[in-house]
């Protein structure tokens, strides 16, 4: 589909693939606003949830966002990400809920894993926050191109009262008609970015030109190498014997638990440079920098069944 001359003359870009993806995502946000009582947007401060928020703001402009944000905090954050989160909340006058893994560790409802990775521990605080706040629709930034089990995900994905995903019982999803019916206690996970690829995300960020958390852009940082990834020391620990701390020019491709998310060596300092780098990459973003997805063949599916994002 191409835009008409008159659309362009008003300074609007033509109706290309990115514009079509944007319209599809906005359609999904408005469907949820029309059919659910208490939706919430999962917001990690990462690029996908930043794009998600940007699209949500556009969907209801000029009205304020009719949803709150929910951050499931592992306690293993890079400070730049929390700073970014709070700045965004302030800028758009949003409501933010924070569910903290550390509260659960403190009173023994959860115990630290032997490997120290906290991404899998987010599930219980997430489900409790959904139940306590009676959220009935939960927006996530998941994309089908990220991982094999995510490729099977519907745009509207029903979760039972235990928050579980049953891939064999997914509803057929036809045309652009979404079925959000659910029983009390159940909720629906909604993925407006389902059809976006990583490259689409970066093209869109470059076109719309909005800021991400600063860790996405190149910066000097003391890092050490582990399992082929560049890790940052933090409350989760630091270099072990034989691992050398050195200052390198790095950036992050994803935001995650600091104990299992690595940086890559990069000089890309703006959206255009990152776009060029991503286009040339021979590794997926999860394979390159997410230790938690390397655990097993079905690591993501197992976490999703339990109620993970």
């Amino acid at each position: 589909m191409t835009g008409t001359i008159s659309e362009r003359s008003l300074g609007i870009s033509e109706f290309d693939t990115l514009a079509a993806l944007e319209s599809e995502s906005i359609h999904v946000f408005r469907e949820v606003a029309g059919e659910f009582e208490r939706p919430v947007i999962l917001f990690s401060g990462g690029k996908d949830s930043t794009v998600l928020l940007h699209l949500a703001l556009k969907a209801f402009w000029p009205a304020p966002l009719p949803f709150a944000l929910l951050h499931v905090d592992t306690g293993h954050n890079l400070p730049e990400v929390l700073e970014f989160r709070d700045r965004i909340v302030e800028k758009y006058g949003l409501r933010l809920h924070v569910a903290k893994v550390e509260d659960y560790l403190a009173d023994g409802r959860l115990t630290e894993r032997p490997d120290g990775i906290r991404n899998p521990l987010q599930t219980v605080p997430l489900l409790d926050a959904i139940t306590e706040n009676r959220f009935d629709a939960v927006f996530g930034g998941g994309r089908r191109d990220e991982e094999r089990s995510r490729a099977k995900e519907r745009i509207f994905s029903l979760r039972n009262a235990f928050g579980q995903w049953d891939p064999k019982r997914q509803r057929p999803e036809l045309w652009n008609l979404y079925n959000g019916r659910h029983a009390p206690g159940e909720h629906v996970r909604v993925f407006p970015l389902s059809n976006w690829t990583e490259l689409d995300i970066w093209r869109y960020i470059a076109r719309e030109d909005f800021d991400l958390a600063s860790i996405y852009y190149t910066h000097e940082r003391p890092v050490y190498q582990r399992d082929g990834m560049w890790m940052t020391p933090g409350v989760w620990g630091g270099p072990r014997d034989g691992e050398v701390l050195e200052t390198r020019s790095v950036r992050y491709r994803t935001v995650g638990d600091g104990s299992s998310t690595g940086a890559i060596l990069s000089d890309a300092g703006d959206n255009e440079a990152i776009l060029a780098e991503v286009a040339a990459s021979r590794l997926t973003e999860r394979g390159a920098t997410r230790g938690d997805d390397r655990v097993s063949e079905a690591a993501m599916e197992d976490r999703k069944r339990e109620g993970y994002f």
Partner: protein
């Protein structure tokens, strides 16, 4: 030519669908190094001699354990000529409803058959479903052609055995698709070996009896209407999703109607009618956060500002005055039944059309379509899982619908279980299969 092609794959169990999709991803270099490493590792673990490309797509534990595809997987790949969104759908009869999901938005479907088995019951079922959904283009991939004639004594004899099989399957498939309403230009048969890559990315020297394009060449060049929904041939259809009322200091009196244009185009000054109320008004402005538009096309999400203060809420349709559909509360529709329990006359359901969900009662079951014989069975007692039939429906609130053959978006609806909430049926307004040559004897 469009830069984006939406396609789906369909076939029976063990036709090698996931292997073909894995091959498409691999040969278009859409698979990144760590994914190939993971597949190679898993293949070695399973004791396989060559990497099992189906592991690239079968994402669920149960799928890998059983070696089958259960649910639709969406895949994204690109060549310099085009980008592709591919819905890889399951072959097992039990999961035909997932095939319906994957094909509902497809512009082209690749149907697979095993060359040694040819056109089978499931091929006919899938072809009927695709005809029902109005999929414009078909490719029949005659897979595992390399396994035909393996007992023949010479290469020549093997090649001629393969040629005979390919010709026979193509002829049978053509008879079927012609009866279902496709023309010869809409359908292409290709002999392939997904495992070895013959005729997938490039033309194979192993199939001298075939002189057409490779699969990827065809996907790159097949002409498709960028919008195959019929959305350009009729006037404006704008289902209202949400009323935007900021009530802020900056926008105290703003009232906009948000939605995605389902058909036609709209410009400021256009006369429109609100359905089902029938109130007429005029479009004052087309708002987006990036500025006003002088015209907006199908697929675009926009906010309409009208000149008059009229009562409009979610579920209403704003349509062009020139060809606005008459709201209907009783109509005939073709359904593909997706529920485990059969549909019977008198069933009380919810119907979701556009942005409106209303109560519905099924009147009579007019006929069941026998997709194996291409025949109609009048007055069936029920429609079972995966059955296609013509039914009459009455709804509590009238809907502003078009015939499915005129426009996909305003001609389609879901039937929903009011108790459990599950999607039980895919509905198409009108007698969509009436063009089929009933009793064509195929």
């Amino acid at each position: 030519m469009s830069d984006l092609l939406r396609l789906a794959t369909a076939g029976s169990v063990d036709d090698g669908k996931s292997t073909l999709v894995g091959r498409l991803l691999y040969d278009t270099k859409s698979v990144l190094a760590d994914q190939i490493d993971a597949v190679t590792r898993a293949s070695v673990d399973k004791g396989l001699a060559t990497p099992d490309l189906s592991l690239l797509v079968d994402g669920l534990r149960a799928e890998r354990e059983q070696g089958i595809t259960i649910d639709v997987a969406y895949r994204y790949f690109a060549t310099p000529a085009r980008s592709f969104v591919l819905a890889d759908t399951p072959g097992h009869v039990q999961y035909t409803r997932n095939t319906v999901s994957g094909a509902s938005t497809a512009q082209l479907v690749i149907l697979l058959v095993d060359a040694r088995k040819g056109v089978i019951e499931q091929t006919r079922r899938h072809a009927a479903v695709l005809a029902l959904l109005g999929v414009p283009k078909l490719v029949l991939a005659v897979n595992k052609i390399d396994l035909v004639g393996q007992d023949e004594p010479t290469d020549e004899a093997r090649t001629s055995a393969q040629a005979a099989v390919f010709t026979a399957i193509s002829a049978e498939f053509n008879t079927l698709t012609t009866a279902l309403g496709w023309t010869a230009e809409d359908v292409l048969e290709i002999p392939v070996s997904a495992l070895h890559g013959d005729n997938v990315a490039s033309r194979s020297t192993n199939t001298p009896y075939y002189d057409g394009p490779s699969l990827i060449e065809h996907l790159e060049s097949v002409p498709v209407d960028a919008d195959n929904t019929g959305a350009h041939s009729i006037g404006l259809r704008f289902p209202v999703q949400y009323v935007i009322r900021p009530r802020t200091a900056e926008y105290p009196d703003y009232r906009g109607y948000a939605g995605q244009i389902a058909a036609g185009s709209v410009s400021p000054g256009d006369e429109v009618v609100v359905l089902p109320s029938g109130i007429r008004t005029t479009v004052a402005r087309i708002d987006t956060p990036d500025g006003e538009l002088a015209v907006a096309q199908p697929g675009r999400s926009v906010t309409l500002i009208l000149t008059d203060e009229v009562d409009i809420s979610r579920g209403d349709v704003i349509a062009s005055v020139a060809d606005a559909p008459e709201p209907i509360d009783t109509f005939d529709a073709t359904v593909c039944w997706l529920g485990d329990k059969p549909l019977r006359a008198g069933a009380r359901l919810l119907l979701k059309h556009g942005t409106r969900t209303t109560q519905a009662i099924v009147g009579t079951l007019v006929e069941r379509f026998d997709e194996q014989r291409l025949a109609a069975e009048p007055s069936p007692e029920s429609l079972a899982l995966n059955d296609i039939g013509l039914i009459s429906i009455r709804v509590a609130e009238p809907i502003a619908a078009d015939d499915y053959r005129v426009n996909r978006h305003t001609g389609s609806f879901l039937l929903i279980d009011p108790a459990g909430g599950n999607t039980l049926g895919a509905g198409l307004v009108g007698d969509v299969l009436s063009a089929v040559e009933v009793g064509a004897g195929v």
